[in-house]
Amino acid sequence: MLQINNLVVEIDGKRILNGLDLSVKAGEVAAIMGPNGSGKSTLSYVIAGKEDYEVLDGEIVLDGQNLLEMDPHERAAHGVFLAFQYPLEIPGVATMTFLKSVMNAQRKARGEEELTTPDFMRRVKKAAERLHIDQEMLKRALNVGFSGGEKKRMEILQMALLEPRFCILDETDSGLDIDALRVVAEGVNALRDPKRAFLVITHYQRLLNHIVPDSVHVMANGRIVRSGGKELALELEASGYAEYKEEAA
């Protein structure tokens, strides 16, 4: 599904990703772990197409198409979804309005019919219930005055509605208490599908108790330095990232 080859990325002349290779299969949940500053968030931004990052080498291929040749909104329509670590606020734009705009923008880009209002409402209602998002919250401006937990649930709601094929969760567990974490994890687990892959970026093993990965990759110094099964996460939890930091130094 997703194939990253020899990805080299700089920001402001500073090298962040240094020949990164990664492969994620359809249906797979891959976790990326690593010390702070290892380039985890940069990887998520580069896949999604944020400006300011200079890609010097390599390619990111999702289902046969090189994402690096596409604009961010085209990547979104092609099925890339990034759940932000710090979701942005859009004052004055009702959450429902935002959801409808983005769903229809993606459908339009793929040459599909726009959603009818009843169909849209039905989809939102169903997905919102699962994430314990009430109608009141949907009427408020997107993410404005939302708690940390509400913002993360809103990210997962968007993920559920947009039905992406490749989902990136960037430190989704940060700032969540255990109950909120459980709701978010359940929301993600409900979306696991043989045709869909996840890249779960996290510093701590905690999240991976709830979203159990198929593979775990350790990132250090801008590349993947070790890969293994879910037990690798437990090992890291016990030993920490010290050995990888030394390697970096």
């Binding site: 197409g49 961010p72 979104a76 932000f84 004052p91 004055g92 923008a105 993606q106």
Partner: protein, 490 residues
């Protein structure tokens, strides 16, 4: 002349103009010679078949005007206007007052259709029971060419006609109220307008009548170098209500066009006037060339107790906007409101705001201003809130927000607050923000393209004001906001 033509062609081929309504209608025009003099003023007055008192009124204005100087305090700059190099009167030919739309020049009707204002459809729609009804006093250049729904309004006792017709048919009302809110000597542009205004709308809503429909006027500027001098007078008698909509678009052209309108509103005891504007005149091309100069004087007088005047404006067009719709809160317990969205892009310059003059007791006012600057534009809010010595219990709330798109534009807020009464309570809030790169990326990641993302964020920013517009207008305004911000990113 060929050189000018060449410039026009070149500008056209650049294909950078975002102005969607840039076309010109070819019809013959009956115009006065260039320049301004007492003779021209008399010519205009005579052309319009005006009575002697009106001619004198105009001449008095003209004599004052020649002694006045163009104001320079606004934060706008433009080449000096040669007032002797303009035409002051142009009327579409062959139209001795059409009795129905069939008699209107087909070219004109076509123009309206391009603008999405099918008069014919509106008339048909009017027959639909319970449907939304909008009466259009269509102003083409300077002369009203079609007035619909007149009959129905007449039944309610509402007078809605061109100001020229009002001068002839309702002289007593015009004489009583014209110039009573914006005096002949008010300011340079208003005085010029008083001398040479060619047409505009007149509305009178009698005592206790709630006007049965929204009244609407669409203005268009046509014909080269025709200064446009509209004059609007709206009177809401005791206990009446009227909602008036004004919308404008103009054809694209290579020369600057001067526009100096005057709008006067009078609300008597317990009356309410709601005046909404969507302004989309040609803003100039991507280099800042051409575009309308808009110097407008709009003022409402809450003359009676418990009266209310509410201004709502969506300003997206014009190269230069100089406009301060204001309220004189004379009657006790009267209320003034100003809701504004001013968008500037390219090289547009906007200096707009309001004045709330509290004179009566327990008067209240509310100002919500949203300025959006993109491209290389300059956007200034300039406002005055004042309480007279006798204005016990005056209250004002002001909120001015500015949004910047890109880093080559400017937003400025210049609020003046003067209180001569210790019991007055004036509140002022102001913010300036930018669409952040992160906000943009968030929207792009969800599948919106750059223009859709900006339009969405801006529509959120102006929501409080859009809500004040009548439904049909709000939809049009939302579209206009998206169109006017095209090319503001990337």
């Amino acid at each position: 002349m060929p050189a000018v033509q060449e410039t026009v062609e070149r500008v056209k081929t650049l294909d950078v103009d975002q102005y969607k309504y840039g076309f010109e209608t070819h019809i013959e025009v009956d115009k006065a010679p260039k320049g301004l003099s007492e003779d021209i003023v008399r010519f205009i007055s005579q052309k319009k078949g005006e009575p002697e008192w009106m001619t004198e009124w105009r001449l008095e204005a003209y004599r004052r005007w020649v002694t006045m100087r163009e104001p320079t305090w606004a934060r706008v700059s433009y080449p000096k206007i040669d007032y002797q190099d303009l035409y002051y009167y142009a009327a579409p030919k062959k139209n001795p007052a059409p009795k129905s739309l069939d008699e209107v020049d087909p070219e004109i009707l076509k123009t309206y259709e391009k603008l999405g204002i099918p008069l014919r459809e509106q008339e048909i729609l009017a027959g639909v029971e319970g449907g939304s009804r909008v009466a259009v006093d269509a102003v083409f250049d300077s002369v009203s060419v079609a007035t619909t729904f007149k009959e129905e309004l007449r039944k309610a006792g509402v007078i809605f006609c061109s100001i020229s017709e009002a001068i002839r048919e309702h002289a007593e009302l015009v004489r009583k109220y014209l110039g009573s809110v914006v005096p002949v000597s008010d300011n340079f542009f208003a005085t010029l307008n008083s001398a040479v205004f060619t047409d505009g709308s007149f509305v009178y809503v009698p005592e206790g009548v709630r006007c049965p429909m929204e009244l609407s006027t669409y203005f268009r500027i046509n014909e080269r170098k025709t200064g446009q001098f509209e004059r609007t007078l709206i009177i809401a008698d005791k206990g009446s209500y009227v909602s008036y909509l004004e919308g404008c678009t103009a054809p694209q052209r290579d020369e600057n066009q001067l526009h100096a309108a005057v709008v006067e509103l009078i609300a008597l005891d317990d009356a309410e006037i709601k005046y909404s504007t969507v302004q989309n005149w040609y803003p100039g091309d991507a280099q800042g060339k051409g575009g309308v100069y808009n110097f407008v004087t709009k003022r409402g007088d809450c003359r009676g107790a418990n009266s209310k005047i509410s201004w709502t404006q969506v300003e997206t067009g014009s190269a230069i906007t100089w406009k301060y719709p204001s309220c004189i809160l004379r009657g006790d317990n009267s209320r003034g409101e100003f809701y504004s969205i001013a968008i500037s892009n390219g090289y547009q310059q906007v200096d707009s705001g309001t004045k709330m003059l509290h004179l009566g007791k327990n008067t209240t006012s509310r100002i919500i201003s949203k300025g959006i600057a993109a491209g290389r534009s300059e956007n200034t809010y300039r406002g005055l809130v004042s309480a007279h010595r006798k204005a016990t219990g005056a209250r004002n709330f002001t909120n001015c927000d500015s949004l910047l798109i890109g880093d080559k534009c400017g937003a400025h807020t210049v609020p003046y607050i003067e209180s001569k009464n210790a019991s007055a309570v004036f509140e002022h809030e102001a913010t300036t923000s930018k669409i952040s790169d992160d906000q943009m990326f968030y929207c792009l990641q969800r599948g919106l393209d750059e223009e859709e993302a900006v339009a969405l964020i801006v529509n959120g920013f102006v929501k409080d004001v859009l809500q004040q517009l009548p439904m049909e207008f709000a939809v049009e305004a939302q579209k206009l906001i998206s169109i006017s911000l095209e090319g503001s990113v990337g």
